[in-house]
């Protein structure tokens, strides 16, 4: 199919979506489905009075903070465990359990410990990102091409050099795939944490508006959140393309199948 037709088709679908949205307003009433126009106006309002920026900053701070707090140890542990395979085997089911357990269910616990401010959101995000990055990195470290490692050792490289020059670059694409997924999850988790209890953030904005029956702001908040995530994803894609320019295009380790709840 020609690219022109694809673009036209997509514009058609976009218009259809907007039309369906407007139709929803007509059918259910503006109280339940805020019309696109009103939603857009509210968005601009929130932008103009700085509120949108304040809340977005908070959410991003929580996401990035948790990202670092969870991501750094998550990335380092597989390297540390690389030479201690027995210990890794012993700890494995605990890591799997930690990965499988729903960290979001811990949100009230973090609020109990750290209060309703930024810290509890960072803790929540961190706990989620930690396991995601842990498993992604572990896959990357495990996937290190044995032949390359052997070759490096034969050439006289110390274990540290092997780790830095062979294992690490091989693991980077896996880590990156983990990073991409984690970033979306991080923002999502921050938002959910804010919805449960907070005084700032996009999640708080949406939740508070919902309790005030301010449907327009709820919609505006959701749109803002969507835009934020799309933009962040784009930035990450661009960064990835640049950092991994040496890789043949097809050789990406999975990536897109898992959706973000």
């Amino acid at each position: 199919m020609s690219p022109g037709r694809a673009v036209r088709d997509r514009i058609t679908v976009a218009i259809a979506v907007l039309a369906a949205w407007q139709l929803g307003t007509l059918v259910f009433g503006a109280h339940w489905v805020s019309p696109p126009l009103a939603t857009g106006q509210r968005l601009l309002q929130l932008l103009a009075n700085g509120e949108l920026r304040r809340h977005t900053e908070f959410t991003l701070a929580a996401a990035v903070g948790g990202f670092l707090v969870g991501g750094v140890p998550g990335a380092l542990i597989p390297f540390a465990l690389r030479r201690a395979s027995r210990l890794a085997a012993i700890l494995d089911p605990y890591f799997v359990a930690g990965y499988g357990m729903p960290k979001l269910a811990l949100a009230p616990l973090f609020i109990l410990w750290f209060g309703i401010g930024l810290a509890s959101k960072v803790a929540l995000v961190g706990s989620i990102v930690f396991f995601l990055i842990l498993f992604a990195t572990a896959a990357g470290v495990r996937g290190a091409d044995r032949r390359l490692v052997a070759m490096a050792r034969v050439a006289g490289a110390s274990e540290q050099m092997v780790a830095r020059h062979v294992v690490w670059p091989g693991a980077v694409p896996y880590i990156f795939a983990g990073l991409k997924i984690s970033l979306s999850y991080a923002i999502g988790a921050a938002v959910v944490g804010e919805m449960i209890s907070s005084n700032r953030g996009l999640g708080y904005l949406i939740q508070a508006a919902s309790q005030d029956f301010d449907t327009t702001t709820v919609f505006a908040g959701l749109v803002a959140l969507t835009v934020l995530i799309v933009v962040v994803n784009e930035l990450v894609q661009t960064a990835e393309r640049w950092l991994l320019r040496w890789r043949p295009v097809d050789a990406q380790p999975e990536g897109r199948l898992v959706t973000v709840a």
Partner: protein, 251 residues
């Protein structure tokens, strides 16, 4: 030897947990002893069953609703490849939005009863299953389809036999991920606004400074999800016996 190590780590973990309660104080941490005691209590007085049932019901109904739609839609989309291609970028955008963020909107629409949670879970589950199933359907080998057509098989046979079986591992991967997520989503929905369920129990405990209740609730949810995870692993291994390697797709 490794099993011994795991048991050791497990026991050490429990001991540290109990120590933490004594060191840091019972208002911050409830140790395993208190948690087990509370679990026994709420089992006896029926609270455990009541709340767990509510959460499981929300999760189950939402799972069936969202999962059913998520699995069937990609097969329906097979009828129009052009529509599928046109929808592609919107899929990508929808993928990125945290479905959990829809909770307040759904509660606005449907109130704090079970129904809003069911819809919420359905929305979350739908996306998991839809994208995984879609990937599976897309991975169908055209040569297999051509061979079946030469035998005289019609489009329905191609869909039922080839698209379905090709997508099956992906569907399973989706189900495996989605079922525990369904429970998680139900609990989160209950955090935000509810009058019953495990999430309600946990959040309520926090509000009442009932640390033991909080820990107990979290423990119950954790055990529930992990048990379901394990059961699904076993189920998957059995029904995909025809595959050369029980390889997982997606995370």
């Amino acid at each position: 030897m490794i099993v011994g190590g795991r048991v050791l780590v497990g026991v050490a973990g429990l001991v540290l947990w109990q120590l933490a309660q004594w060191v840091l104080g019972a208002e911050w941490i409830s140790g395993p002893v208190d948690v087990l005691q509370r679990m026994a209590e709420i089992t006896v007085n029926g609270q455990l069953v009541r709340h767990t049932a509510a959460t499981l019901m929300e999760a189950a109904f939402g799972f069936v609703l969202g999962g059913g739609a998520g699995i069937l839609l990609p097969f329906a989309l097979r009828l129009s490849p052009r529509l599928t291609a046109a929808l592609d970028p919107f899929f990508a955008a929808a993928l990125g939005v945290p479905k959990l963020a829809l909770a307040p909107l759904l509660i606005l629409w449907f109130g704090i009863g079970i129904f809003s949670k069911v819809v919420f879970v359905a929305a979350v589950v739908f996306f998991f299953l839809f994208f995984n199933t879609l990937a599976g359907v897309r991975s169908m080998e055209p040569r297999l389809a051509a061979a079946v057509r030469v035998f005289g098989g019609r489009e329905w046979t191609v869909t039922r036999e080839i698209a379905w079986h090709t997508a099956l591992p992906y569907v399973f991967a989706g189900l495996k991920v989605a079922l525990p997520r369904a429970i998680s989503a139900a609990v989160v929905g209950e955090f935000i606004a509810s009058d019953r369920g495990l999430g309600y129990y946990i959040n309520n405990a926090r509000a009442m400074a009932d640390t033991v209740g909080l820990f107990t609730g979290v423990a119950v949810v954790t055990l529930l999800v992990l048990a379901i995870d394990a059961a699904l692993e076993r189920l998957q291994a059995r029904s995909l016996a025809w595959r050369p390697l029980a390889r997982e797709i997606g995370v």
